[in-house]
């Protein structure tokens, strides 16, 4: 069944049709929430809230990119989550190492297809990028996550966050430059394969 049919059925209250859409988009939604919030549990909560909210308001979807519409719902859920987090700050629950210190990169997320060295390398890169993303202003982070991590085009991003195309271009350019500056601080940490690619060189 194609996406348009599923959307039309969901708009008539068909929950099974909507759940098919959920299964198709849940990884994208979760990854977006994860990169905006930087926390797995909060990202899962925001994703669930986003889908509930999307089902309740799906009648307001008037065509165009469903992914962009869904991403708008997710970013709103993330903003709500951030506001909640601000009101009730929590301590991240991370496992301790053998000597009692918190691990920065939990190993339970390890990919079994990678060697330990590759996993370590990937963890370090991910940690560095997430750290730099967290330091970006929220409106920059949202744009860069959608464009560079989700691979959405400018028009989709503009539709998702309802700002003019020019603003998207400006925010994306500035976000990339800020990320580049931030990641330079990790240049020594990053493995050679990541450093050399794309002209990532010390200035």
């Amino acid at each position: 069944m194609n996406e348009q049919t599923l959307i039309a059925d969901a708009q008539h209250g068909n929950l099974d049709a909507f759940n098919s859409l959920v299964l198709h988009y849940q990884d994208s939604v979760f990854n977006t929430a994860l990169r905006i919030l930087g926390d797995e549990d909060q990202a899962a909560d925001a994703s669930q809230e986003a889908f509930i909210s999307a089902f309740k308001s799906i009648s307001s979807f008037r065509g165009g990119s469903f992914k962009a519409w869904l991403m708008r719902t997710v970013t709103n859920a993330c903003y709500d989550e951030l506001r909640r987090k601000k009101r009730r700050p929590t301590t991240p629950l991370e496992p301790d190492t053998d000597d009692g210190e918190e691990m920065d990169s939990p190993r339970w997320l390890a990919d079994p297809n990678m060697t330990p060295d590759q996993q370590l390398e990937a963890d370090e890169v991910e940690h560095a990028i997430q750290h730099c993303l967290d330091n970006l202003p929220l409106e920059f982070k949202t744009v860069v996550v959608m464009a560079d991590i989700q691979g959405m085009d400018y028009i989709e991003v503009a539709a998702a966050i309802r700002v003019p195309l020019g603003t998207i271009k400006s925010r994306l350019a500035r976000a990339r430059l800020r990320l580049r500056e931030c990641l330079q601080g990790f240049a020594e940490l990053l493995p050679a394969s990541y450093r050399l690619e794309g002209g990532m060189k010390a200035q």
């Binding site: 209250g13 929950l15 909507f18 759940n19 959920v22 299964l23 849940q26 990884d27 939604v29 979760f30 990854n31 994860l34 990169r35 797995e40 899962a44 994703s47 669930q48 889908f51 509930i52 089902f55 309740k56 997320l109 990919d111 990937a122 890169v125 991910e126 990028i129 860069v144 464009a147 560079d148 991590i149 691979g151 085009d153 400018y154 271009k169 400006s170 994306l172 350019a173 500035r174 990339r176 430059l177 990320l179 580049r180 990641l183 990541y194 690619e197 794309g198 002209g199 990532m200 060189k201 200035q203």
Partner: protein, 240 residues
């Protein structure tokens, strides 16, 4: 590096520039190493972001009917049944309450009417207060004189005070005030004696609302509730 150039470089990286703008930028890139450096930086950042591992959702986010508060579609007649049930229930309690309270209301109103002289009472008390007024100065004079001549015998003070006129007048007043109270008490007694008969008459032959209506309302409310429950059950079973 100005903001405009930064945006152009970023858009060029994403292939979002028009062919003419791209050509112009490419010629500038050949002669401006700073532009090339910034373009490399933007590309490096984008490449790293694209390398971020794509996580799988930790669980399925599929929704249940409970999560979204979805109820099964109910028959068209359901709202009519609901309306009838609510109205019948309200009417039942209203009539029940009215029948229970009506005798008490009548009872509380009857002594006021039964007193008969109730309306005259304020006029009487005014009259009494006017009668009492001349006595009051006389009564206050007596202690004043008593204070003025403390050394004299109490008898002399009593002689000076216009007691013969004051005392009878105050006694009269007291008696006059007591009289309506007694009258009221007597009237009350008469009413109290009459009360059981009045209540019996009000309750026994005809309640305020005939009890058949109470029964009708109760039956309608109960039937409505039963039908509503049956409709819900059948809709739910059909939905599943």
């Amino acid at each position: 590096m100005n903001q405009r150039d930064l945006e152009i470089l970023s858009s060029y990286l994403d292939g979002q520039l028009s062919p003419s703008d791209s050509t112009r930028l490419e010629s500038r890139l050949q002669s401006d190493p700073e532009l090339v450096s910034v373009l490399d930086d933007l590309r490096a950042a984008r490449t790293l972001l694209r390398k971020l591992p794509r996580r799988r959702a930790p669980r399925n986010f599929t929704l249940t009917r409970k999560m979204v508060g979805l109820n099964p579609p109910l028959p068209r007649a359901y709202p009519a049944f609901r309306f009838a049930t609510v109205v019948a229930t309200l009417l039942f309690f209203f009539t029940f309450g009215l029948n229970a309270l009506a005798p008490q209301i009548l009872q509380s109103q009857s002594p006021a009417f039964g007193m008969g002289g109730g309306a005259d009472a304020p006029a009487e008390s005014e009259l009494f207060s006017q009668q009492a007024a001349p006595a009051m100065p006389a009564a206050t004079e007596a202690p004043a004189l008593a204070e003025a001549a403390p050394t004299e015998a109490p008898i002399s003070a009593a002689d000076l005070a216009p007691q013969p006129t004051a005392i009878p007048s105050s006694e009269d007043t007291a008696r006059a005030i007591e009289t309506p109270v007694e009258k009221n008490a007597e009237a009350g007694n008469v009413e109290i004696q009459n009360q059981p008969q009045v209540v019996d008459e009000a309750q026994r032959p005809a309640p305020f609302i005939p009890s058949v209506w109470l029964t009708v309302f109760a039956v309608v409310a109960m039937l409505g509730a039963i039908f509503m429950a049956l409709m819900r059950r059948s809709s739910m079973s059909r939905w599943k």
